[in-house]
Subunit: 337 residues, 2 copies
Amino acid sequence: MYTNREWVLAKRPAGEPSMDCFELEETETAALTAGELLVQTWYLSVDPYMRGRMSDSESYAEPWAVGEPLNGGIVGEVVEAESDAYDTGDLVTGEGTWAEYSVMDAADVTAVDPSVAAPEAYLGVLGMPGRTAYFGLLEVGDPSPGETVVVSGAAGAVGSVVGQIAKLNGCRVVGFAGTDEKTTWLTEELGFDAAINYKSTDEYQAALADAAPGGVDVYFDNVGGPITDAVFTQLNLDARVAVCGQIAHYNDETVPTGPRKLPQLIAPRATVQGLLVGDFANRFGVATEQLSEWVASGDLSHRETIVEGLSNAPDAFLGLFSGDNIGKQVVQVTTET
Amino acid sequence: MYTNREWVLAKRPAGEPSMDCFELEETETAALTAGELLVQTWYLSVDPYMRGRMSDSESYAEPWAVGEPLNGGIVGEVVEAESDAYDTGDLVTGEGTWAEYSVMDAADVTAVDPSVAAPEAYLGVLGMPGRTAYFGLLEVGDPSPGETVVVSGAAGAVGSVVGQIAKLNGCRVVGFAGTDEKTTWLTEELGFDAAINYKSTDEYQAALADAAPGGVDVYFDNVGGPITDAVFTQLNLDARVAVCGQIAHYNDETVPTGPRKLPQLIAPRATVQGLLVGDFANRFGVATEQLSEWVASGDLSHRETIVEGLSNAPDAFLGLFSGDNIGKQVVQVTTET
């Protein structure tokens, strides 16, 4: 039994979440039952979709309960095992809690191989965001060589992988991101053909027309809002829009207004489709294998923004909405007892 | 050579078209060259998509030229033939002009069989609107038995066919239309399970929840605007939205604003797709054959709203935007010389 600290949902936010929505509680770890592992958190994942879990409205991810621990992806070390599948000292990843320790079913975790990539990469390029990029782009976006792929939130955990997979598929790739550091990373390090800093211009449509003079064949949308409005004006015949996220809207208290976009779909016979990575669960293994190969070969770069200390987890989460992260945002959990 | 009267585009409209956009000119029919027919118009078609042709912006239908005759679907009688394919007296349909006489290529027309349906039906259920309904519903909407299909503009030329084909496919069908006469026609004559008069309530979302308590699997959209906003709130898992038309927006002078809808696509993994019937041109024959069978068997009802007189063609066209028509709007062209 260990003393544990874990974040619980103190209250639901209205609009933008604030720090008082989170409360750090001290507890003790539960005794394990058969098949369970006690995992000490090395890294925990904060993801934009978690904003939906803070609300009680029905959605694809089960809402977090007020007063209960916040769950999400973690990477950690097995410190107790009531399972033959893992030994103490093994590194695993799976759904844990924003805590120092998580009790996890051995059947629900997968092994982390630090020879492929640093453990924290298993929350990003080799985790849910990487798989989202892989299936979202290849299955929903379905790009062909020579096509133009535009990505919003391009320097984020998902977008940065989307753009690189599109390049590996022979596409022209344009990303929207919010700082010059990010756009430089995209074009200099990740091989994007062009990147637009949407905070340095209001003329998204003109900027996109410059960056994608042949129009847009695939749009992988993580953001929504005015960036998406601009992209919709430049969809090519048979364009595909994969709606992966809409981070610009997650803190909206009411349904926002914007240009009505459906008329713009008719002439190009464009397709807009919402996507959830969970729909591809039976093929996660294939994706992880391919992503691991690309990472190992150097074809796929990845980057993590690491905030240190469990106490800073809410800050790291809230920072997603102001674009503090480059690549995958993770929290390194140090045991501060 | 015949004296002809034909409507030309006098000027392009800004916003809602007015009568002075149209001008009726007297001309003489041209001499035929090999392969051509001179066709005397019995009925001409006015269609919402023609609003796009009045503007000079690039779109899927070639803009009408200022000062030039307005073209569109017609049904008429061959009065001169420089082709062995048709004789004088034959009834044909194809792309003609808003005129008493049209010169048409014999290769581009098809025969009208009045034993299947009245000639004017070849501009509706057995013409482009019927084919649009057929392919748009079955290929883009792709409904399965037991699913709920919602249609906007349900009492129009396309929508009324969509709903009936959905019923023939074992679906629950809900239509939006703008008068009690229309909604009664839909439920009493066409077999719709429910119909909502959108001009008698502002509570579209509540009305739809009543009419489609199991949510919406397929939405065939001819209209856009607030009706579509309401439908988007109630999309089921894997819902398909076929964007066929957006008549509520064709007269907009600027891009209108409305609720941003993309966030609503993620949880249901819904698909929204623009459609143009021309993409299915290589299968038009199959569609017309099936539609003719259904009409002949009585499985598919159709109705035409007939305005008499070539001089009233612009009125009939403008009436589409106020919902004057039930079923297909056509103009019966009498030779008023």
